[in-house]
Symmetry: C2
Subunit: 610 residues, 2 copies
């Protein structure tokens, strides 16, 4: 199959038109010269983990933030990058395909060719396995021609998403050394960027000259933190899914006889489900994060759904649409505990057939209570990130089954007097993942590719490309790079918080105190009862909606970097006011005010307050 990579393809009219679309670059990346400004040294958000992260990443923790500015920017400390040697760069797709991935490769290629046509870009064929086996394809304009602004990862392919074991790391180091790579760009999500950070540290330790750069590409939208506002692919996935959900809502309202239970991709975090809910207004969504924080059991969730069905029946409504994130199943406490037991036994080598006999009595009781199809799905081997195979577990069918059983019971008991409950189940994932990327994802990915090269040119290692102010038009975007270690957290396992886990990026779950969730809560009753379905329509490339941004991005005010910048301006202002020669009163006032500020912040930033 290797020979098929990068071959030209027959494209539809729309695909052809899309290949002609050239994403804009923000002002700072236009032209051939960029200035890099180094900001403060970074720290991890959670001070209690900082020490552990620093110990694990002695060479790459605490590096300074980088901002890319236009060559003409009047920032005194910013360096003009003028040296562009003919380096060799590798690029690899890690993890699951996400719309827009191809544009990262294109942006990277365009940027390096503008700076030195002799720079070589090698794409690894078949993901990390291709990296280990040193299977490469030299990227050229001809090869990119039919992949610009197109979906999928089929230009290079992908395999498993891990570069983690000693063997894998050694194979990667070996490949980079033999291929004389000056840099390796890793395109992926939470897991792949954690691996990227570890590679960067190990490569530095072993004096390998290859620098590692991470690019945040994951449809889950869960690689979110102070530095990263959203990920390539999330916008497209949410738009395509919202279209389908809206179509189903319209269908439900037209036929008036079915409840549609729809499970959505997105792994542990419910970002996709939240965004789709805000876009299409289905009757209900049950976020994994809500279940997690309220410790809702299967029984609770079933009751909640049945009460909703019953309330609607009282208004003579026998249809509805319910969204369920795929991570929901793991957030239900008793199912989580059952999965932990199953995964423990699987890890011990117990075969799936023998597991049910070795479960604890309560786990066994729950297991036997579940329908056969779910039992088989729960017995699947866990994924590389230790979570269950969420895409394979049909939570929507389980809940539809439980709701149907309960509604039939209520009907028999006479506590429910409406029509019979009918459900149709869907899993929306694979049919969206290969979509043509939205304009936003095309632009974002292309810009990130460019930044990838500037990170390399600046000689940085273990950094992720970042763009801020994404909710604004491209000409307002701010480009930079942040050390991946600054995005890490350390997980406390189980009951003993003194045992710390490995530092890693974690999927950003939905913030139940955030503005996006708040918007959902404010409208939840209307969504549930009033069928105010909204159809964002099919993904458009021209006209209305073509430039829409994810609602979460627009609602949440994420300008963290902007605020840090603003703070630094305040500090600079104080410094410029309080200079030798100013009045004693001013010095006193400044001292008193600043002492108070630092006191407050010290208290807030101390580990105990977490």
């Amino acid at each position: 199959m290797d020979t098929d990579y990068g071959i030209a393809r027959e494209l539809s009219d729309l695909q052809q038109l899309r290949t002609l679309y050239k994403p804009q670059l923000p002002p700072c990346l236009q032209g051939t010269t960029v200035r890099v400004e180094f900001g403060d040294a970074t720290i991890a958000a959670d001070p209690s983990g900082a020490h552990t992260i620093k110990r694990s990443f002695p060479r790459t923790y605490g590096q300074r933030l980088a901002h890319f500015l236009r060559a003409t920017a009047k920032v005194p400390d910013a360096q003009l990058i003028t040296d562009h040697p003919a380096v060799r760069v590798g690029v690899v797709f890690c993890g699951r395909q996400s719309p827009g991935g191809h544009n990262v490769v294109w942006g990277l290629f365009d940027s390096l060719k503008v700076h030195n046509p002799k720079i070589v870009l090698l794409g690894f064929l078949g993901g990390s396995e291709g990296l280990f086996a040193q299977k490469t394809l030299e990227i050229s304009d001809e090869i990119l021609a039919t992949y610009k602004n197109q979906g999928g990862y089929d230009l290079l392919g992908r395999t498993k998403d891990q570069i983690r074991t000693t063997e894998q790391v050694n194979a990667a180091l070996n490949a980079c050394t033999i291929l004389k790579l000056d840099a390796l760009v890793i395109i992926g999500g939470v897991t792949s960027n954690t691996d990227a950070a570890r590679l960067a540290e190990i490569f530095a330790e072993r004096k390998c000259l290859t620098k590692i750069v991470g690019i945040p590409v994951t449809l889950n939208g869960d690689l979110k933190n102070h530095f990263v506002e959203t990920n390539v692919g999330f916008d497209t996935i949410c738009k395509v899914n919202s279209q389908l959900i809206s179509n189903v809502c319209t269908d439900a309202l037209s036929a008036e006889k079915y409840y549609y239970f729809i499970r959505l991709m997105g792994r542990k975090a419910s970002q996709v489900a939240l965004e789709c809910t805000l876009q299409s207004h289905p009757n209900m969504v049950i976020l994994a994060e809500e279940v997690d924080v309220s410790k809702l059991t299967l029984f609770d969730i079933t009751k909640k759904l049945c009460d909703a069905v019953q309330a609607r029946a009282e208004q003579d409504k026998y249809h509805g649409v319910v969204l369920l994130p795929e991570g929901l199943i793991e957030s239900i406490p008793e199912v989580y505990a059952l999965l932990q037991e199953i995964h423990g036994l699987l890890r011990k080598g117990v075969s799936a057939d023998n597991i049910s006999g070795q479960l604890s009595p309560w786990a066994s009781a729950l297991f036997e209570f579940l329908p056969l199809f779910i039992r088989n799905q729960l017995l699947l081997h866990p994924e590389s990130d230790d979570s269950a195979q969420l895409s394979q577990i049909e939570t929507e069918k389980l809940l539809a089954h439980l709701v149907e059983t309960e509604m039939n019971k209520r009907l028999e008991e006479g506590t429910y007097k409406g029509k019979k409950f009918n459900a149709i189940c869907h899993f929306f994932g694979y049919q969206a993942r290969g979509s043509l990327p939205s304009k936003f994802d095309c632009d974002y990915a292309y810009v990130l590719g460019h930044i990838g090269y500037h990170i390399i040119a600046a000689g940085l290692n273990g950094y992720m490309a970042t763009v801020n102010n994404l909710k604004s038009p491209v000409n307002k975007w701010r480009c930079g790079a942040a050390p991946i270690t600054a995005m890490m957290t350390v997980r406390r396992y189980g009951n003993n918080p003194s045992i710390l886990g490995q530092p890693a990026l974690r999927p950003a779950t939905v913030d139940l105190k955030g503005k996006a969730y708040d918007l959902l809560r404010q409208n939840a009753t209307k969504f549930l009862m009033d069928d105010i379905y909204r159809n964002p329509g099919p993904l458009q490339f021209e006209g209305a909606g073509a430039d829409a941004r994810p609602m979460i991005l627009c609602v949440e005010d994420q300008d963290y970097m902007g605020r840090i910048k603003e703070l630094q301006e305040y500090l600079e202002k104080v410094r410029s006011i309080v200079k030798p020669g100013c009045s004693q009163d001013i010095v006193k006032a400044a001292l008193s005010a600043m002492a108070s500020v630092t006191d407050i912040l010290s208290v807030m930033a101390s580990p105990s307050s977490y």
Copy 2:
């Protein structure tokens, strides 16, 4: 729930923009006056059924074709319709929702208001049930505002698709009489338009003044015949499904580890599956019509699929996309026979639980061989058209299961040496059915709505609105009306061809001698082996692809009416050449030539040649 019909809704930006789109009218319908030309009396295509149809429809069989022309058209026999009394018109959605249905109501409303603002249009709420119960909503511009160019049937809702039993027909007649309707417009597919023809006949027989008009709206695209080129909804459904199929193809090619088995809506006929295949080039499609004509068994189909998987594995390809029309299951001979037995027992009142014990030995053997989930689905009650509940039978899972079992067997036996076969199954239907309608469907439906009014104004009964030359731009469309009885056939049941069934419209299956199927066959090997996936992209309303027509429509040269017109011009020419005074030689030549033509045609048109 009644109070919610027709209420204004919150629309997304794109939805709002779409409400502003005003479909074009073909020249013949522009302005306030239309001329109607009556063509020849119609006959049924199958002469052997003509007698039966005529006997069943003495008042509505053999009516003349109608063509609508612009007021200024210089056609001597065409009548100018100038009388537009303040009639009362009813409109009802019958059968399953199809994108574009709302625009029929809108077109009808616009047309009648242009001709006489006092004409009343009553929409029946909740489909045929609403008709029987006389639940109506008077259509107004305000009510239509948020439903123009929008998907679904939620403006009025729909229920079951039948107006067939004596009780139902009486209820319909009663409603039309009490509401003093001059006409009733029935929006639906094959079944609903058959019902419309029967209503027209019965109403005429009982001297009911309400005229019946049918509008061909069905996403299945199977209401096709000499007069009807395609149906409202088919274009949208195929575009939305093709997008999803293409996304899955891209996904398959990126991950390289799954076979996707995708079942598509479309009922008995495989029109949707064929169109989607031509648009997106999946590896394989198995049309119900192919299975039917080749009498392929489950075993044959499984073998065919396994051989394809094996051939691809030999090229190191372990992914693929296979399309399956939902009607496939009924076309497999042994499954069909099993279904016949099951439906027979169900009709006798045998409960589903007791059926397996009462099957014939061979049917029982097949039944027991099938996986449990399929058995339960086969036991469902048949639909109103006597077919199985195709949307509920997971043929894709059955075939994926059989292929997996067979591939594992080949692996064990050593006849297959590739990687394990992995399948992911999908059913694409509900998520497309509620889509915003494509520009083509918006235009087509709106124009049909207008024609609906002109049929009423011309005083016709039992006619369907028709548009020809649909593959050309709207200004080339030709508008007309054809008696529904002329589209009917009579089915010969079982082994005794002398026992004739009820005349009815039948779903037009894929023509295996047609150009569209031929195109598929020519490319089948390339599709199978070369992964020449093509992504038409998401449904666009502006720019590339926005004006695309269904491929089947473009490939097949369906200009039947155009040809009849052309023939008539020839006859006219002969008549004008052979006039008293022309030479004896010309008369002789004309006589001889025409005698020969009529001889040939008489032979071809005689029942025995069918």
